[in-house]
Symmetry: C2
Subunit: 360 residues, 2 copies
């Protein structure tokens, strides 16, 4: 007797919801344990800022890890070791985002002040509140980075799995740092080659957000090379689509739902695929306007409207929508290419759908 897709999906979603509850429990008790263990007011304070930041996260990477585990055959209640790896990914992400916001000098994240801004606000009597906020945020990030490894060390993983998972996470870390460096290098003078912009998206987001977390889950379920390969193809395609959607939302989205300003990417001159295509297709006068406006720290909403018009008029926005669709299809083809667990296939398809259409 085969289960209907709807019923599989309902079951899958319920299981993943339970998985994420397990992840949440581990995160909370791990951080409480760390605070207790350090037994000093300073670590407690840094941990408090970390937890406030963590509270706003979507847990996308833990979700991918748990999905990978179920895709490769994991059944029933999620084992603590798997939930711990998923929680460790969220701590790593916390580190990456806090440092990212420091590097970009971003003011808001998840609809609230970024960690460095929040701390600066609390220390307005400091000689240099901004410098203090930035420095303390770097430390909160460093602490989260270290704790993500401690949480991994505390997992009772099978030695063979442990080595493979660690190698995946090492690769993920290297890829994330590489992507971030490329991003820094190009910010302020947007790249004009789509290939370069896509390379940044791949390193900075695709591998880190989807491919590696998914693969970690697959390894933990004892999945074979075939499943790993499927998850890699799926992960890179979906991750790129995710990043491209993020680029569109970063300019055209609603700050109320994204939690981010729609001016930042433009005023920072972020090296997006969207902008690379716009440059390629722009007329001389449009290009001149982009040169003036993109990367202008004082860019305002009126300027942003002008840029949005150019992005639409050149067809860049539509081209990016098309790239998202192509990648969405590529992700689905990867899912169909091998005999995965039915529940896994259903979940991967649905997650692809959610990620592409997400409004926030």
């Amino acid at each position: 007797m085969t289960q209907s897709v709807e019923s599989q999906l309902a079951d899958g979603r319920a299981l993943l919801a339970d998985d994420l509850v397990a992840v949440e429990t581990i995160l909370a008790s791990f951080i409480t344990g760390k605070r207790h263990c350090a037994d000093n007011a300073e670590v407690s304070l840094l941990a408090e800022w970390m937890e406030q930041f963590l509270a706003g996260g979507k847990r996308f990477r833990p979700l991918m890890c748990c999905t990978g585990w179920r895709t490769a055959g994991g059944q029933g209640t999620i084992p603590e070791a798997v939930a711990s790896v998923a929680a460790s990914l969220e701590l790593f992400h916390t580190f990456a985002l806090i440092h990212d916001d420091v590097m970009d000098g971003s003011a808001t994240r998840r609809g609230r002040p970024t960690v460095h801004r929040h701390i600066a606000g609390l220390h307005s009597d400091h000689r240099d509140p901004n410098q203090f906020g930035t420095s303390a945020a770097i430390l909160v990030g460093d602490l989260a980075f270290g704790w993500s490894y401690d949480l991994l060390d505390a997992c009772a993983l099978h030695p063979a799995q442990s080595d493979t998972v660690r190698q995946l996470l090492v690769d993920m870390r290297t890829e994330t740092i590489t992507g971030q460096y490329l991003d820094l290098l190009s910010t302020g003078r947007p790249v004009q080659a789509t290939a370069t912009a896509l390379r940044i998206a791949r390193f900075k987001t695709a591998k880190y957000t989807v491919e590696r977390p998914l693969q970690a889950g697959v390894v933990l379920a004892g999945g074979d090379e075939t499943v790993l390969g499927v998850c890699s193809d799926y992960g890179v395609a979906l991750g790129e689509a995710f990043q491209l959607r993020d680029e569109l939302l970063g300019v055209f989205g609603s700050p109320d739902s994204t939690g981010k300003s729609t001016l930042d990417d433009l005023s920072d001159g972020k090296p997006t695929v969207l902008m690379a295509i716009a440059y390629q297709r722009a007329s001389a006068s449009q290009r001149g306007r982009l040169d003036t406006l993109i990367g202008d720290g004082a860019l305002d909403e009126r300027d942003a409207i002008e840029v949005r018009d150019i992005l639409i008029a050149t067809g860049a926005a539509a081209a990016v929508e098309e790239m998202i669709t192509t990648r969405y299809q590529r992700a689905l083809e990867a899912v169909d290419s091998a005999a995965l667990q039915p529940i896994g296939m259903t979940l991967l398809r649905q997650l692809a759908n959610d990620a592409i259409e997400r409004l926030q």
Copy 2:
């Protein structure tokens, strides 16, 4: 037949010199391996900056780790696992210093531009070279942080030792971050309580520079609780002395030999024990001058001379010298308190001597 102290010392020094050669070899081949493995130009570049920075280090923490190992009975050629842990400490230190320099906005370190300044200099055509240099330096630090754990993971340590060493290094990391946070919090408004300044010194330097690296070496040689206890007492005492010497050198030293400006600590308003004592002993007019000068970003050599005069006139400099001597003696008493390996006792005594009297 007992060996003379001189001959023991010569033997001990020769062994430690060999140990450090082994550490150097591991560091170089590990980083080369990492560059090769990542196989991308960005990681290669970040690693190059890391290596340039590493080249100027004194390897004090690896030295302490190797000394701990020999103190607890390690003999002959140092095992690769021990040298790897020592090398991992140096990578962790690289991370800590690079981030520290970013937080302090320091211009020079080890007689050369700090990493963020160096990178900013290479990218003078970037829209904001300073911001770029700072961000890229944060990434170099993050990479070194991650690699210090990877190097540890790659060590073939005995499981029981592995857990204990990891816990020591976790404690060390927490202590370092705590000390750094306390330092940030007090910088710009120097603490006026000696106890608070000493707490910062203990967290930021003593445990991190001496106690934990030494204990890691002891654990790797299978040393017992007695040796660990001796190394803790010795380490904290010597580490504090080391930090106090650093405070004096930071104001009275020669930049040629310290590699650092003698104005930075004063213009930053670093929360040193030296300054806490000066404040306590200052007359109303001296205190008024300190309030004006300390933490003044524009402080010049003439102002520094005036501060030095106050530090001498109040007796603060002499009091710190006395505190160094007390701690030096306490370190030696710890060494004498238990039956350690003769070569270990000789080395610990000599290292204490070197550290206290170091001119750089």
